[in-house]
């Protein structure tokens, strides 16, 4: 369960933080549930409550790893062929 959505902390007032869910979707949420929330932090919000901070460097690491993984695979021609043959491009749409 548990929908969690990343948001940028804009301001903190006591136990409440103002966050931006992206492109100006702003809302006040409960920030008392995480130690040391600061403006500029990227946090995960669940049911209007901050549950964790997003660690940007870990995301970068994952993306770098994924890119390497992809490149590694792309070197292996047969696997690449298979990876491209399924699923094929949709035959509709613009």
């Amino acid at each position: 369960m548990c929908l969690g959505v990343p948001a940028l902390v804009k301001a903190v007032r006591g136990d409440v933080a103002l966050v931006d869910f992206g492109d100006g979707v702003e809302r006040e949420v409960l920030g008392a549930t995480y130690e040391d929330v600061k403006p500029g932090d990227i946090v995960i919000v669940h049911a209007g409550v901050i549950i964790e901070k997003l660690k940007d460097e870990k995301l970068d690491e994952l993306l770098r790893m994924l890119n390497e993984f992809r490149e590694d695979l792309e070197k292996k021609a047969d696997e690449l062929l298979r990876s491209l043959s399924y699923p094929s491009e949709p035959t509709y749409g613009g």
């Binding site: 369960m1 548990c2 929908l3 969690g4 990343p6 136990d15 409440v16 006040e28 949420v29 409960l30 008392a32 549930t33 995480y34 130690e35 995960i44 669940h46 049911a47 209007g48 409550v49 549950i51 964790e52 901070k53 997003l54 660690k55 940007d56 870990k58 995301l59 690491e61 994952l62 993306l63 994924l66 890119n67 993984f69 992809r70 695979l73 792309e74 696997e79 690449l80 298979r82 990876s83 491209l84 399924y86 699923p87 094929s88 949709p90 035959t91 509709y92």
Partner: protein
């Protein structure tokens, strides 16, 4: 997250590359395990959402079966608590609820056949859907009306209840029906019930893990030898988890891996953990259709019992001895919830029990597995239609 990162995590060549790897590993895993298909269970409604929303089941090779476990705290909320909230709303007490529990059916007994808070509201009950407990606190403070908050949810949602209690944010006219439940105990319970045809991999709930920490799942590997991956919620996160589980199976080395390290830490959210421990005791608790599971629920500690709605309104919770099975006779919703039966295994499915005339809770709740299967014709319908019209 940047649009570029999202694009990478949701689609494109990376997905194809991971899928190729999954198809390569799947037969090896089957060989190593000696049983097919490989049953991989998720324990999170949002993972299940990602799997259905992005059609990931349609991308799996035949050797891999993705099974939904008890990942929805709403579906397992005992009818007793829904009935209690309905009755209070009809008696003039305002009930604040998350949207999920708004449509959740109770026993259908209160008020001469009112089954959900949604129906209670139509019958004149005072029910308000909120996004967050903060909204309930503010409105209750402003309006001064006697109110209760129906607090459902696993460990992820528990801090939303614990923080206002511990920080003294609750106005005296707002009390809480505390139905929080814990995931590790139900996970153990589920494994025990699957001994015949074991679960071979676990996609551990990512946002529960933010609170309890990845360490909470060590027992899955140590006690049950099941590969476990704490995963994020983008399609690539889930696919990576499947790939990692298959890799571990093919090598016969079960491990605990945290794929969601951008959010989840080993220790978890200490502040939230402390707040929950300060606010609540861990108690034996009832699960819908399943009964009491040891140490699987939260109850207010004595010093905070003033916030307990049941105490305030003089309502006594049924104990294990008084527990009555809260599913209709013949209904297999509990097994479906535990991933032990498919809806089509139930003799009532689409015969006595249909979306138009639902019988069990899994069919009533629109997120219930039976309702989803009834609407979508079960796991493979989308693929079947796509094949039929020559889409691929």
């Amino acid at each position: 997250m940047s649009g570029k990162a999202l694009a990478l995590l949701r689609g494109g060549p990376l997905v194809n590359a991971i899928l190729a790897k999954i198809r390569e590993l799947a037969p090896k895993a089957v060989e190593a395990v000696g049983q097919a298909p490989i049953k991989i269970m998720d324990f999170c409604g949002t993972h299940e959402y990602t799997i259905t929303h992005y059609g990931l089941r349609s991308l799996m090779p035949p050797e891999v079966e993705l099974v939904a476990g008890p990942g929805c705290p709403v579906c397992v909320t005992p009818a007793f608590y829904v009935d209690t909230a309905i009755k209070l709303s009809l008696e003039g007490v305002r009930v604040y609820t998350y949207g999920d529990a708004y449509k959740l059916p109770g026993s259908g007994r209160p008020g001469g056949g009112i089954r959900s808070l949604e129906e209670a509201r139509a019958a004149g009950g005072d029910v308000v859907v909120v996004y967050s407990i903060l909204d309930a606190i503010r409105r209750a403070s402003r309006e001064g009306k006697d109110s209760v908050f129906l607090a459902v949810g696993f460990e992820t949602t528990a801090p939303a209840t614990a923080a206002p209690v511990v920080r003294g944010m609750l106005p005296s006219n707002l009390t809480i029906i505390n139905v929080h439940r814990l995931t590790p105990p139900i996970m153990r319970y589920t494994f025990e019930r699957h001994r015949e045809n074991p679960i071979r991999g676990v996609i551990a709930p990512g946002h529960v893990s933010t609170i309890v920490g990845a360490k909470a799942w060590r027992f899955v590997v140590e006690d049950y030898g099941i590969p476990t991956v704490v995963a994020g919620f983008e399609p690539v996160d889930v696919l990576l988890a499947v790939m990692e589980i298959l890799r571990q199976l093919s090598r016969g080395e079960p491990m605990l891996v945290n794929e969601y390290s951008r959010v989840v830490t080993w220790e978890g959210n200490r502040t939230a953990q402390k707040m929950i421990a300060e606010c609540c005791d861990v108690v034996d608790a009832a699960w819908r259709g399943i009964g009491f599971v040891p140490e699987s629920g939260l109850a207010f500690r004595d010093k905070y019992r003033i916030h307990d709605a049941l105490l305030q309104y003089g309502i006594r919770e049924p104990g294990p001895d008084e527990w009555s099975y809260d599913l209709p006779p013949g209904c297999r919703c509990a097994e479906v919830t535990l991933g032990m039966a498919r809806p089509t295994d139930c003799p009532l499915f689409m015969k006595v029990c249909t979306p138009g005339t639902p019988y069990g809770p899994c069919m009533v709740s629109s997120e219930g597995t039976c309702a989803v299967w009834a609407r979508f014709g079960g796991g493979g319908l989308a693929e079947e239609i796509a094949r039929g019209i020559g889409l691929k």
